[in-house]
Symmetry: C4
């Protein structure tokens, strides 16, 4: 029995799994999580939901049951880890962030099933969960790629934050200019810095919905300057990312050249 | 006779052609394929099609005849290759992916000519065919460039897939937020996560058609955050690409420095 | 007393502060500046302003008083620096750009408080001030990041200017083409090169509001070419930025490898 | 006299000018060319043109006279160069591309002045001329930057062309898909591959005017895929550019480290 418990533990802990990619148990759980997300997305659509309501009820009930059982098995299997041994260990595990995520997501699903309150609020939690399992994968190209991306972003967090801070300053300055230029002509869209920020945001990110745009000559001239600035706003983080990835790729290559087990240190 | 067959084989197989760029036969075939694509594009336009219908009929008939003859010649010339010798070899070749592409594209053209059923479904197949011939070019700057691009993309497939996976997760999260914020006010555009995904897609790729956009303050605030995220969504694959190209260029340069025939290994 | 003055000087001069990050005094000033910017943004919104007018009056009055006192303390503390010693030194300091920024921003706030004239014109000045304090931070990751970004941009100023110059040339050429193609059909939007520049700007930066767009076949064809060019317009500065950051990161790494105090030379 | 001629030749030939930046004569000519472009842009605007028609008439007359004199002086000064000595040399020079550009641009201006036919068709020619003078500058940071950009683009012309070719293939494929999905519902916008290309172009470049967009579920799904692809369409040339600039910067640095005159070989 203990052997089964240890085996399930090895299957459930991605850091502990020595085979390539994900363990069968985690693959199954991940597939179910993705399936439940897809179901939640489909169910939120009234046309689909009203045509097959019982199907969604049954599917969500099944998901809720499976996730509840999975949680029970997980807390039992975690007892293999000395930190989570015995009842006090189980309680300690149940209070970890991952466990709380599990509990809330499963509860949201049960509330959906039992009381008909839409459970799509749990969608993001389940996605976070699915991504966490993915990111901890060992011995797989995907796991290496995740660590590479994370490393590149983490190494340059400060520069990326700074470029977003700068973008925010430009956003406020742009909104102020357009408020001054167009505030009187289009009070609905540019009647305050706050309102003009909606336009500034759409312009600086080059989304450009076109629901609001300047109509005066001064406003158009300033908008042209802001739009030109948008190129810099996009070029800066992209350039930082490019340099960071270039860096991270080269370090990875050097690590591989030095020795095999260095890769696990990433 | 066998000498002509061998010469045609050398002309048709881009890997076997030793001259610079494409062989005359392949250049002609490529030109015809591109011409047939242009014709299909023009023919799909009713204004153009109705003004010169006979012209298109004749052109497509000619193309169909040429591509049929070309296919016959190709299967005959392929017999030079030991793998495709004799009738059994011809049958083996005819079942290869390239050959099936040829057959389907040519059949689509014949159906168009004989029964008037628009053959533009064959457009993509013919384009794929044209690109395949291009990508196999030896001894040409274009061929080297294609292998360089392919290498850069292939080396970082996992990282690029991951950044698209992340973009998809952000898409669902963004759609869920906007569905919660705007679902009641604009049920047509944001009445379900599925519907909100159309908006989220347009925003995260910075396309921003402007057919749907949030109108509430909370919706606009969340949309602003999503639009800001779009910069990261674009910056990530661009940065990966930049680093991958930088890498591939340097490897290419090293290969050239080491020896000439290393280039063919790309 | 002199000891207090020296301590305040050390706290106020970011170049002189030896602790990590910002000094407590500068952190407080920065927080207040950011708060006053947020207040100015909120106050510009009529709906918010009219609901709590006295609150904004009191807040702005407090900010004006604090910034006035801060300025007095600063000019007094600057006397520790030999350059700004005595009355003549205080006058010399008060005529520096930073000091004039402070005076104008504080005056704008007082005019707002006393005469009810909106003081949001001072918003940009205060932001500039806040960013200046930030950028001079020593011994902090943020300060290093700022110097890195500044270095990357400064090293490639000429190339970036050139790419913006090129973008401007393309803008005029694009506007001329569309003016010739659409000027007669849509005189309001494309009736002159100047008018067509609004469209060209929105297209080349990929903002694409959609308030104006070509309707003739020639206009759409030319617009397609212009839109294709927009990719190059964005790719050029982004590529320059990426290379510049890559360069600056590597120099930074080399500096760190050589010696610790090299970092202060950035 | 000959001394004056040689001095003017040295002033007019940017490759021959040994001072920093541009020679006084070329600076003046460039300023006039830019001024004439600005005038042409302003004159095309009916509101401005009708308010001060005589001013534009006089300005254009002055420009036409100056450019005519400048051309005469240039052809005379070019006689210093052995290639362009004597009458036969002057005729040879007058048939060079640069000279023909000059003649056409000046003629366009004279036609505008004398017959009132708008001369803005000469705008592009004059801009090309101005950029040519700029690009030949020696001993200046701008000249170095121009050669750097040109080198980076030229080194990767094939890869950049290829990424644009790929973008064009995606454009046709995207247009074909949307034509099949939306052709019947929105015949005006998607009734042929040709018509759908306008939408595909706006989407793939992320301009997104919003004048046409899919309305069916299948159309929106396909449009979402196309929009996702647009990220790759932008990421590819940007990545190539970034790698090319990174390369060109490093070569430039190496050149500077090796010797001073290597820079002129760029």
């Amino acid at each position: 029995m203990n052997s089964l418990r240890a085996r399930i533990y090895h299957q459930m802990n991605p850091m502990d799994w020595e085979g390539p990619g994900m363990s069968p148990v985690n693959s199954t759980v991940l597939t179910l999580v993705i399936a439940s997300v897809v179901i939640a997305v489909l169910q939120s659509e009234p046309v689909i939901d009203s045509s097959v309501p019982t199907l969604f009820f049954l599917l969500n009930g099944t998901f809720a049951a499976i996730f509840t059982i999975e949680y029970g098995v997980r807390i039992w299997a975690m007892g293999v880890d000395p930190r989570y041994r015995g009842l006090s260990g189980a309680i300690r595990y149940s209070r970890s962030v991952v466990s709380l995520l599990d509990i809330v997501a499963t509860l949201a699903l049960w509330i959906d099933v039992l009381f008909g309150v839409p459970g799509m609020y749990g969608v993001m939690l389940r996605l976070a969960r699915a991504l966490r399992i993915l990111s901890l994968m060992q011995n797989s190209r995907m796991g290496t790629a995740i660590r590479l991306l994370r490393r590149a972003v983490r190494d340059r967090t400060m520069e990326l934050s700074l470029s977003f801070l700068l973008a925010f300053v430009v956003l406020i300055v742009a909104a102020t200019f357009l408020f001054l230029a167009e505030g009187d002509v289009q009070p609905e869209a540019f009647g305050s810095i706050l309102r003009a920020m909606w336009w500034a945001m759409a312009t600086l990110t080059t989304v450009g919905y076109g629901d609001v745009y300047p109509v005066t000559i001064l406003g158009k001239f300033l908008a042209g300057l802001v739009a030109m600035t948008s190129i810099a706003i996009i070029a800066m983080p992209t350039g930082i990312m490019a340099a960071a990835f270039s860096d991270a790729f080269q370090e990875l290559k050097r690590d591989h050249a030095v020795g095999g087990n260095a890769a696990t240190e990433i």
